[in-house]
């Protein structure tokens, strides 16, 4: 079990209100990702749930029980930190054993659990090393191992992959997702990286300045962003926003169209925009073309096929899939 409910939770640091009243329900077994730009209060929210920070007002419930005033260790949650927070003087084995030892578990049971975790995380060969002798990826595995052995009601991850290099990040992302499929334990995962959010989450919570902008499955957010902020944040490359005349004709203040919904077309065959190519990024599978000189949107990003022949300075004509255009009013809210 691991159903977590936040009821009108707020947090102030002195006079600074980091989290305005916030309501959120996390269902048992869900993989929820909190995503948002740096400083939007993701970590604070996670720490409130963990009990490392006290709420200024509001209630937190875990499985129906009010834990607002219960100390962190009694909430049954395990947390994995961005900096790993391993105990540097203890071997990997002792690190993983630490929560069990604190719980007063007997030696034999401890060892079975440690062995199981070490096997699952490929750490068997490193059990007697100190954290300082491990690579970043291995350290993060140890941190995850320390969380798993406790068999918690929910896992909390605070940007666990941010300190790893890109290749390792992709691998660990998969491992954590697989771990969730296997354990079926509630996981709350904080990241500023929308790719991690899209690939891992059952449910994404988009935050901005402590406010929940939208909650939904990755594809919901992609297809129907509730406002321009979510639209711009979810999806890579970023959505193109066009204001001015073009938007006006469609009855909106701003329109948004994702790079993958814009095509290069021959002149006169339904082209909407015309511009000059600035930079074309060839990724092999795709080409991201940045087109300049378009009224109300500069540059406009276009996603084209990998083999497309295009050079700096070329003039291109662009059309958009009209059913994939998002309309926003002057406050950035979606109009439909």
């Amino acid at each position: 079990m691991g159903r977590i409910v936040l009821e009108n939770v707020t947090k102030k640091f002195g006079d600074l209100e980091v989290i305005p009243p916030l309501n959120l329900t996390i269902e048992d077994g869900e993989f929820v990702v909190f995503v948002g730009p740096s400083g939007c209060g993701k970590s604070t929210l996670l720490r409130l749930i963990a009990g490392l920070e006290e709420v200024t007002s509001g209630r937190i419930l875990i499985d129906g029980e009010d834990v607002t005033n219960i100390p962190p260790s009694k909430r049954g949650l395990a947390m994995v930190f961005q900096t790993y927070a391993l105990y540097p003087h203890m071997s990997v084995r002792k690190n993983i054993a630490f929560p069990l030892r604190m719980a007063g578990m007997n030696e034999a049971e401890q060892n079975t659990r440690i062995e199981a975790a070490a096997t699952a995380l490929n750490l068997t060969d490193y059990l007697d090393r100190k954290p300082g002798q491990l690579s970043g990826g291995q350290r993060q595995r140890v941190a995850i191992g320390r969380a798993i052995v406790r068999d918690p009601t929910a896992f909390l991850f605070d940007e666990p992959l941010s300190n790893l290099d890109a290749a390792l990040r992709v691998g660990m992302r998969l491992e954590i997702s697989e771990m969730h499929k296997k354990l079926k334990t509630t996981m709350i995962y904080v990241t500023h990286d929308q790719v991690e959010a899209m690939t891992m989450a059952d449910k994404i919570v988009v935050l901005q300045s402590g406010r929940v902008e939208q909650v939904g499955s990755p594809l919901d957010l992609y297809r129907e962003p509730r406002n321009a902020f979510v639209a711009g944040f979810i999806g890579s490359p970023k959505m193109n926003f066009i204001d001015g005349e073009k938007a006006g004709t469609l009855g909106a203040h701003t329109i948004g169209v994702r790079p993958e919904h814009v095509q290069i077309c021959p002149k006169g065959e339904g082209d909407v925009w015309q511009g000059k190519v600035g930079v074309a990024e060839h990724l092999g599978s795709d080409t991201f073309i940045h087109v300049h000189g378009i009224d109300g949107c500069d540059p406009m990003t276009v996603r084209a096929g990998g083999e497309v022949k295009i050079n700096h300075g070329d003039t291109v004509y662009l059309s958009a899939q009209m059913d994939q255009i998002h309309k926003f009013d002057s406050e950035g809210h979606r109009v439909s």
């Binding site: 490392l52 962190p72 260790s73 930190f81 927070a85 105990y87 003087h89 630490f98 604190m102 320390r146």
Partner: protein
């Protein structure tokens, strides 16, 4: 000339200077320890100048080992150093943790805490033995006198008088006495050196990783477990440094011992060297060599012990 050779060459003067700096005094001590060399001897005036012809072999060492105070001085050196180390490290850790938290007036408290370290050892000894520990005029005498007066007064009080009449009259301790002079030295040096330990531990505590603490909190560690399993190992290295530096300093205590009791009931090796050096330089040098050996044994032993208990 290769770059490497040039670098070596340029280092040479510094290395040579250091070698001379350390080796000359040590070699002279060694040399003196193997010859007869006294400052004053009317019957054998040739002994008053150091010369190889006065070779005595291990005679000085035998003489020192047989001297009545030698083993006592070794034992007492270890006792004093050990006690001071134990007290300063314990107090240092406790105080450092106490003042590591933010509280109003922390800056002032820190400065006050450090101040004993700026008092000269001789002044420190004079202050403590005369103004604080003196059984009559010192704070100790005044305090014990005050308590005794209070008890006498309470003995006549109604209701509780019978209880206080069971109390004995307290006797102040004379810290210049043979049995207690070592304690006086331990107290005053601990007072003076605890700030040093506090300072070093405090710096180290500030570099302690807060996320580790939070992880430990979530792992169910209480205050004691956090201290035992995170803070203490984190302090392992600074404790080793404090212990090493202090061991070296306190093995050579002199001023305090001289001022408290002139060595009565409380000698260490340096004090013994001082006594021999009144006339017998050969014996003083041999004692000096013993002191060097003792210091090395202590250093190795302490490092091992700290490494074993804290770092694992």
């Amino acid at each position: 000339m290769s770059k490497r050779k040039l670098a070596r060459l340029l280092q040479t003067p510094a290395v040579l200077l250091l070698l001379v700096w350390m080796l000359v005094p040590l070699s002279m001590t060694l040399y003196f320890s193997f010859i007869r060399y006294v400052l004053n001897n009317l019957r054998r005036p040739e002994w008053t100048t150091p010369a190889l012809s006065n070779w005595r072999g291990f005679g000085n060492y035998e003489f020192v080992l047989d001297a009545k105070d030698f083993w006592f001085a070794v034992q007492n050196s270890l006792f004093i150093v050990g006690s001071i180390l134990f007290l300063t490290v314990t107090l240092g850790v406790l105080i450092a943790i106490l003042i590591n938290r933010a509280f109003p007036g922390r800056g002032i408290v820190r400065v006050l805490l450090i101040s004993p370290f700026f008092v000269m050892p001789a002044v420190n000894a004079v202050l403590w033995i005369n103004m604080i520990l003196d059984p009559v005029l010192g704070l100790q005498g005044i305090a014990i006198g005050g308590i005794n007066d209070l008890i006498t007064l309470l003995k006549d009080a109604p209701l509780v008088g019978w209880f206080f009449s069971l109390w004995p009259t307290l006797e102040p301790i004379s810290f210049r006495a043979t049995q207690t002079s070592a304690y006086a030295v331990i107290i005053m040096v601990t007072w003076q050196w605890t700030p040093f330990a506090v300072l070093i531990f405090m710096t180290s505590l500030q570099s302690e990783d807060q996320q580790q603490k939070e992880a430990a909190v979530l792992d169910g560690a209480g205050a004691w477990s956090q201290f035992r399993f995170l803070t203490l190992p984190h302090l392992g290295r600074p404790i080793a440094i404090v212990v090493m530096i202090q061991a070296i300093f306190h093995l050579s205590l002199y001023a305090e011992i001289e001022i408290v009791s002139r060595g009565n009931g409380n000698k260490n090796l340096p004090y013994l060297i001082g006594e021999f050096a009144n006339n017998n330089i050969g014996a003083a040098s041999a004692t000096g060599i013993f002191a060097v050996i003792l210091a090395n044994i202590v250093a190795i032993f302490l490092l091992r012990m700290i490494g074993k208990t804290l770092m694992d």
